[in-house]
């Protein structure tokens, strides 16, 4: 069970990182579009 838990944490962190990156990119693009 603990091995699964470890893998899950790793994947979750990677996903959340990607998610935050996409949100930031989205914000930047919105600013550039407004200009």
């Amino acid at each position: 069970m603990s091995a699964n838990f470890g893998v899950m944490i790793v994947v979750l962190i990677i996903w959340l990182g990607l998610f935050v990156y996409l949100l930031r990119l989205d914000k930047k693009v919105k600013e550039l579009e407004k200009k």
């Binding site: 699964n4 899950m8 994947v11 979750l12 996903w15 998610f19 996409l22 949100l23 990119l25 989205d26």
Partner: protein
């Protein structure tokens, strides 16, 4: 905007549950968890292919460069997802049936999709003039799409003799998917589809902004 938050939530929930709940297929054990990743990803490559074809048709009829950009972006993303689908499928195949590759109908179809995307991208990189690139790649995209019905019809007939295993696992899953497994699967399906659309829209916007800056 809200659907982006939904995407984040969905995939997070999916990630947590697919590792913490018991594996969906007891016989195969841990590796069957990859099912929640592999099938949605394969579905997204097909979705991307549809996007590419529709955009190609729109480009040829309206000649608006935006459609060409959209076709190119969806093909690029489709290619990425096709690689992920093929790799995850091979990993699953190794554990379930003993070898990484067997030319059974599903595997063959995803491989051909991979080839089509690769050919499309190779074509785009071989042409320099923008409007020629758009025209020719749109034509190829449509040509590729019309061969797909033949693949769907021909491949199962001809390749079937090699591997019943794939149909076994699919019929099993269809017959008795317990509700928790089904709901997580559908969440994963929706989540990955939304993720694809999000990245797709973003990349199209970025390219359009880039073009505006340079003109």
């Amino acid at each position: 905007m809200w659907w982006k938050i939904l995407t984040g939530l969905l995939i997070s929930i999916v990630v947590i549950t697919i590792f913490l709940m018991p594996p969906p297929q007891k016989e195969l054990g841990e590796v069957s968890r990859i099912f929640f990743f592999h099938v949605p990803v394969a579905w997204v490559t097909v979705l991307a292919f549809l996007f590419a074809m529709i955009n190609s048709i729109l480009y040829l009829s309206k000649k608006d460069p935006r459609y060409d950009i959209q076709a190119a972006v969806s093909s690029k993303l489709g290619f990425l997802f096709a690689i992920l689908a093929t790799l995850s499928g091979a990993i699953f195949a190794k554990s379930a049936w003993g070898s990484y590759w067997n030319w059974d109908p599903r595997e063959t179809s995803i491989f051909i999709l991979l080839l089509i995307y690769g050919a499309y991208l190779a074509l785009r990189s071989a042409i320099e003039a923008e409007d020629r690139k758009a025209n020719l790649s749109a034509v190829y995209s449509i040509l590729a799409f019309i061969t797909v019905p033949f693949l769907v019809f021909v491949v199962p007939r001809v390749f079937q003799s090699l591997h019943p295993a794939d149909s076994v696992i699919n019929s099993r899953i269809k017959i008795q998917i317990p509700f928790p497994v089904l709901s997580i699967f559908l969440c994963s399906l929706l989540g990955f589809s939304l993720l694809f659309i999000w990245i797709y829209k973003l990349e199209v916007k970025i390219i359009l902004l880039d073009k505006k800056k340079h003109s």
